[in-house]
Amino acid sequence: MLQSVFGKFTKWRILKQLILKDIDSLIIGSLGIVSFISFFVGGVVSIQTALNLENPLLPKNLIGFATRQSIILEFAPTFISVIMAGKVGSYITSSIGTMRVTEQIDALEVMGINTYNYLIFPKIVALSLYPLVICLSMFLGIFGGYIACVYGGFSSSTEFVEGIQLDFIPFHITYAFIKTIFFSFILATVPSFHGYFMTGGALEVGKASTVSFVWTSVVIILLNYLITQLLLT
């Protein structure tokens, strides 16, 4: 399938429209939910950390530190990707699956169009902007943590900001974005595979979306483990 995705390209003027449309539905359309989840989960991480710092000898800047580490290393790249497997993955599987059951893919094939390239390549390109979504998630997660911590009275603004800067390792950002790039490819291809090769009717489209979400999540979690093992140990 992947070989065909990158073979016999669709005409640029059509491809350009498809890419822009996919950027709109897959990236722009996800910003709201990603922002909402990131902000509030960042806040919860911060409150949970604060509530667990019972020892008065532990500095308050640990709240900012723990929030930063949780958000940058795992929450933003991995858990947002699992959420995106539900949102974007189901959308991709159901839209391609519906095209399959309503013979739209057959219609494209009869016209002599490379349907793999036409349907899947724009999604891969659109999701190459996915690291920007994760960047936003990181920012809003930490910002949410800051608001919850400072306005919740758990630490001062200075302490939280100190914590964010404490023992900062720039490679952690690189690690997070390397993971994100792999996840964006998984998010585009695994759901597309399940949609493209599905058979049956409307009921099967729903089933394919569920199966696609499960497999995309499994692949993301396994890949997360593998990349962490390779890059951080």
Partner: protein, 253 residues
Amino acid sequence: MIQVDHIIKSFDGTQVLQGISTVFEKGKTNLIIGQSGSGKTVFLKCLLGLFQTDSGKILFENKAISEMTVNERSVLRQEIGMVFQGSALFDSMTVEENIMFPMQMFTDKENDEIRDRANEVIKRVNLINANEKFPDEISGGMKKRVAIARSIVMNPKYLFCDEPNSGLDPKTAILIDNLIQEITSEYNITTVINSHDMNSVMEIGEKIVFLLNGKKAWEGTKEDIFTTENEAVSNFVYSSDLFKKVREMYLKT
């Protein structure tokens, strides 16, 4: 002209097409008829190249698909128009965009020129005030017209239709049948229609191929079908009392 030479197609060890041979002539509406499960759709998909045959040849203007280069196949595909049973319109595009799509894909013409051509075929299939509508906003009959318009916008040499009037009321079904027949003679194309609608057989069947259990059981014209002594085709075509009476009346006159 399309020649089919002894094609065989199996799925999971079951032969769905068992050595079918026939010729579909240019400028004629050729009908493939048969009961559900007789292999009509598989046969049509083999003709379209959506299924690879196990053996046998399909020749377009005396050139076998299996012997064509990738480029030749690509050119052939652009010469084929297809009307699917469910119309298969792209639901994210308007009627006009659906019809413009093949031209945008395969020609270097400017958008205005493409739109003019699209409007020409829209007029030809009698679609009124539907250009900006999406497929889910139009009726079944209109969807078929859009599908026909999309299939002829590139001036195809071959037109394939899979049950083009299924799900339509009898009046609209006849209009669609007549439209296909008019387009066939007007554009001088080879049209192959997959149908089990007896009205279509009587109205537009210039050549009819009857399939039974994956084999060609009979072929002839709509006139021949009244006089045939082939039991299988008679049982299929004259399964209703109405058609039996029509046949009796035809034979009396």
